[in-house]
């Protein structure tokens, strides 16, 4: 019994300590030193482990995702699965190379000064968080709040940095928010928010005069000098527009260009030019595949959808005039 009482006392003390830590961290970030120390020690270890297990990990990842293709032709799928799992083991490096090329292309177009990095660890906290560790830090010129991109578009922002590693909050994290601009000529600006691991983002457009439509693309909007985001980085495509029900802001669902589950090579934008030409970095076709191989098919104008154009062209002259409410006996 004395043991049990002592155990209870110990538990109470531990829980009070934990709550005190949470409060300290919440109030003042007083624990950033401890966090930095942990990053300095464990960050490089994660880099080493990731170098070793990386091919194994992506092989397993390939296996885990096979289930989602089930709706497709089964026989074909089985064959594909065999080939794919074989390929993945050998193609890891090739895949990485392709991502690098794409990244160089994007960063070059925009004249961003970037630091390339590899993803070494994924955060989860039971699935609530969507963060990664990258293998570059202050020693490579990376600072907190900088924009992280991949060849496909916006990846996230740096939330913590130590000497040799940094923590990146991915754009699908629920705490992630970025200013976004509609690509199609307008200057409509809204705010785009993550919705949790693997889910699409949601857009809130403050301007009610601009109509949102499916297929419109979004790019980041500079958040001012010293702010976290560089402008014009492609973010995603609108996949669904919520019906406007007298709300102040229009809302829509946005599918990001970047697939956050298969990040390998990313780049931190450490400097960007004063201004970037609008829509320069967006994929060229209206229906962008994530693997952009920029074949210049000249489709200059994005054809607007034929919504409500010929307003009620087939006007059916109804036999009963609508104002005939006078025939009541």
């Amino acid at each position: 019994m004395r043991n049990a009482r002592r155990a209870r006392l110990v538990l109470t003390l531990l829980l009070l300590t934990a709550l005190t830590l949470v409060t300290l961290d919440y109030r003042s970030g007083a624990l950033s030193g401890i966090r930095k120390a942990a990053s300095t020690v464990f960050g490089p270890i994660e880099t080493v482990i990731s170098d070793v297990v990386h091919p194994i990990g992506s092989w397993f990842s390939g296996l885990a995702h096979l289930g989602s293709y089930k709706s497709e032709n089964e026989a074909l799928h089985k064959k594909l699965a065999e080939v794919e799992t074989q390929l993945r083991m050998t193609a890891t490096e090739r895949e990485e190379y392709a991502q690098e090329q794409q990244l160089l292309h994007l960063a070059g177009l925009a004249q961003f000064t970037t630091v390339a990095a590899r993803v070494t660890a994924y955060g989860a906290a039971f699935g609530f968080e969507s963060t990664v560790t990258i293998d570059r830090g202050t020693a490579n010129g990376i600072a907190k709040n900088e924009t992280v991109i991949s060849g496909a578009g916006l990846v996230g922002r740096v939330v913590d940095v130590s000497r040799n590693t940094a923590t990146v909050q991915l754009a699908d994290d629920s705490q992630f928010t970025v200013g976004a601009r509609l690509s199609t000529g307008t200057l409509a600006v809204g705010s785009l928010q993550g919705n949790g691991r693997g889910k699409d983002m949601s857009l809130q457009l403050l301007d009610n005069t601009v109509r949102l439509t499916k297929g419109q693309q979004l790019v980041s909007f500079a958040s001012g000098p010293g702010g976290p985001f560089v402008p014009e980085v492609p973010i995603g495509t609108i996949t669904a527009v919520a019906p406007a029900t007298g709300q102040l802001a229009q809302t829509a669902t946005v599918h990001p260009f970047v697939s956050f589950g298969s990040l390998d090579v990313v780049a931190v934008v450490v400097a960007s030019p004063k201004s970037i030409q609008h829509d320069l970095l967006l994929p060229k076709s209206p229906t962008p595949a994530p693997t952009v191989t920029v074949t210049v098919t000249a489709t200059p104008g994005v054809t607007p959808p034929p919504a409500t154009s010929g307003s009620t062209s087939g006007v059916t002259p109804s036999t009963t005039p609508s104002s005939s409410a006078s025939t009541t006996p």
């Binding site: 531990l14 949470v22 990990g57 039971f126 609530f128 590693t165 705490q175």
Partner: protein, 169 residues
């Protein structure tokens, strides 16, 4: 606690944590992820009892709170794992746990730890916590952990008992 016992616990906890962030989370399994740390904390608690379970849970959680790429307030996981370690430790019967016991305890612990973390996060206004996400997280963690537990728990317990002379507790 002698030095070798403490060393064993540090090694196992650190290994589980690094395996979690570098390998398990990278797989992006459907719905959520298994949580290796819960299994490890339960395994040690079943051998060491409530008090040790709570202490181990606290430090394991604190480590998970600060090792990158964690991005929440330090102490949240420490709190959750300390409770789990304490409760699991109450079931320490001083003998080898059977597989059904292991599965039941790990399932309950996984369920509890996610709910505790979500509850605490919700209290301090963490935007990541929502009923939908929490539901999926609980389901995924419980299911995956139950699958892994029968392999991991006996292994860890056996290692722990090697350093634990019988009758000294």
């Amino acid at each position: 606690m002698t030095a070798p016992r403490i060393a064993l616990r540090i090694v196992v906890v650190v290994a589980a944590l690094l395996l979690q962030v570098c390998v398990v989370n990278r797989m992006h399994l459907p719905l959520g992820t298994p949580d290796l740390l819960v299994i490890v904390v339960v395994a040690f608690a079943l051998v060491g009892g409530s008090q040790r379970g709570a202490v181990l849970g606290f430090f394991a959680g604190l480590l998970a709170d600060v090792v990158p790429p964690a991005d929440h307030y330090a102490g949240e996981l420490a709190f959750s794992y300390a409770v789990i370690g304490y409760v699991a430790g109450m079931l320490d019967a001083g003998e080898e746990s059977t597989v059904p016991t292991i599965i039941a305890v790990v399932a309950a612990a996984s369920f509890g730890v996610v709910l505790l973390y979500a509850g605490l996060g919700d209290l301090i206004g963490d935007a990541r916590i929502s009923a939908g996400v929490a539901g999926r997280a609980v389901a995924a963690t419980v299911v995956y952990d139950v699958v892994l537990a029968p392999f991991v728990v006996p292994l860890v317990s056996a290692a722990a008992r090697r350093f634990e002379p019988a009758g000294t507790r």
